[in-house]
Symmetry: C2
DNA sequence: TATTAACACGAAACCGTTTTCGTAGTTTTT
DNA sequence: AAAAACTACGAAAACGGTTTCGTGTTAATA
């Protein structure tokens, strides 16, 4: 079991000083040709790699970024994560990921674990509980310390930082308009408790699309489903409201509702059509295929990672403050067979 | 922008030495009551938290574990990850995750990035390319350095380390036997190139189940689908072979095949039944629901994390070598409507 | 009262780097 | 030939902790 070789080992072996070795390996002009070659050859031979931890301690930055998301077994978040990881890795950064599990406490604990030197900055989407409690002191704690933070998707106006969001309202407006254009009038909305900023935004798009098209909003057509998977309400909801289309704020609700409708023998999309948020595996492989809103998670992740890393590296070299930005990713509608084209 | 406070700051402010502060905060018996209380109060007031990096450098372990998986937008891997993260977090460890994207090179690069002090050990599933090339030198590199490694699911006999695997052969045997018991005789197998150990094992279970039940294996009933999503072959495969059941080594293949069969108007499960590996969202929300093999990813992840952390912490306190173990997780069959009960 | 033990704390080494600064020895300049 | 300027390298501080060991004070023992 070969132990890792250090600068000190090389220095001792080659009878030069540690500083000489360090400089030689960095190709410093201070060091003579022969010494450089000797050191570099030796280092290569013994496969020397600098110890990341020591470098981090010295340089005061770790090349790690912390990601905190509410859930990992979730299509959208995994695609965002993939985008983050891709961008980060190609820029020499590693990603430490923590799952808050929609819990405020876990979110706080995870942030505290990472905020003590482990990472150069955070990328996160707020947990459900955090949005519900409306308590962001842990975020402020972190930004006050000068640790860069990028929020994505589940964001808040309470915190001044970089953000990446989707044009939720707009894309919902488009989707609902599309349904109306295809002749639908009694369009149901399946949504979650509106402490989620995204639910609120999507509902706003829904309402505006209806009124813009001269249809008054029937509150009975808006079904708020609880946090857990309590979805028995969908059946009666469809039956009692003469519904001819359903827009759902997530894939699961949409697929579920479509399954229930099909079970009742209602024809999709002629009698009832469906659109759901998140263009994931379920939408793709449902039968009929589910028309859905592609959130371009990979793109959101890459943008978030770029914003964060740009800020981290800017802060290293200059003292000028970069203003906070909010980038908006444009969603798109992926048409499949659950809607009338 | 308050900077983080250090031991040195506290020492200066309280006019004691750094070592006294350090000991006081650790409640060392060496330090007097009054001094301890003074230091602890001050530390609490200014929210002192030790710098992780400095502690890591000193202690030579980081409380980080590295996870390398081939894909993140993938139900099974995310559940394993969730298990790892849960166990690790509750034991004070953070998880750095890298995605190899089924690429040998990325796997190597990721391992090298992390193997230089960033982590105390690895948990990984081999990339497709690695299994194809059969080149595990990067793993050996790491184990030779004494860095603990746990392989899960996609493993290899070439490397001596802890492993967590599924009883692939056995559960496939059970599933196929179940199909036979329900009257099926022409059972198709949808599989991938057999450089994946899991594909090989599952195929072995398939073959054995048939012969054990007195059915000879018809090689035409085994369809090997390529790495990408080239699945046009499924339609003709069903048509030409008088197939009455299909077992697929993953969820996507199964769902796809079921969709194609339904498109042809073949009745599921009466005329053709389906079982797929991975009990994910697709299986749950397909219509009819897909009978599937639950791999208990959370459990695999927790076991892997426990094996790794146990080994890391054992190595800290004693020099005795723990023998390598292979834990086998028992899959189970989740029955839904795509099979005859 | 002299000796020993217990107590409370500080100095310093150490983890593995990076980086500033000082200085022999050599070369160039005048 | 003396002064100035390079060249090539080493010593040492620093990053922020942990830990060993030494020591001055006080309390207990003989």
């Amino acid at each position: 079991m070969r132990r890792k070789i250090t600068l000190k080992d090389i220095a001792r072996e080659l009878e030069v000083s540690i500083s000489t070795v360090s400089k030689a390996l960095k190709n410093s002009a201070e060091i003579g040709r022969d010494t450089k070659e000797k050191v570099q050859a030796f280092a290569k031979l013994y496969n020397y790699k600098p110890n990341n931890i020591a470098v981090s301690l010295k340089n005061k930055h770790t090349k790690n970024i912390g990601v905190i998301i509410p859930d990992i077994v979730h299509y959208f978040f995994t695609t965002v994560f993939r985008g983050i990881e891709k961008y980060a890795n190609s820029h020499g950064y590693n990603v430490i990921i923590c799952v808050s599990d929609e819990s405020f406490d876990k979110e706080v604990i995870n942030m505290e674990m990472l905020a003590n030197g482990s990472i150069d900055g955070f990328i996160m989407a707020l947990s459900g509980e955090t949005q519900l409690k409306n308590d962001f002191s842990h975020l402020r704690e972190v930004t006050d310390q000068g640790i860069p933070l990028v929020l994505f998707d589940r964001v808040t106006d309470e915190i001044q930082c970089d953000k990446v969001i989707l044009n939720d309202t707009e894309i919902t407006h488009q989707a609902i308009t599309k349904m109306i254009k295809s002749g639908k009038r009694r369009i149901g909305l399946l949504t979650t408790e509106n402490f989620f900023n995204v639910s609120t935004d999507r509902e706003a798009g829904y309402r505006k699309a209806l009124t813009d098209n001269g249809i008054s909003v029937d509150e009975n057509l808006i079904l708020t489903l609880p946090f857990n998977e309590e979805i028995d309400a969908i059946g009666p909801f469809i039956d009692n409201n003469d519904i001819d289309a359903i827009f759902a704020v997530n894939e699961i609700f949409a697929i579920h509702a479509m399954g229930i409708a099909q079970g009742k023998g209602i024809k999709v999309p002629e009698e009832i059509s469906f659109i759901g948020f998140t263009d994931g595996w379920l939408s793709r492989y449902a039968s009929p295929g589910l028309t859905s809103i592609a959130q371009h998670g990979d793109q959101m992740g890459e943008i978030a990672a770029k914003m964060l890393i740009d800020r981290v590296e800017e802060e290293l070299k200059s003292e000028i403050e970069i203003p906070f930005r909010t980038e908006i990713v444009k969603a798109s509608i992926v048409e499949r067979e659950s809607t009338i084209n």
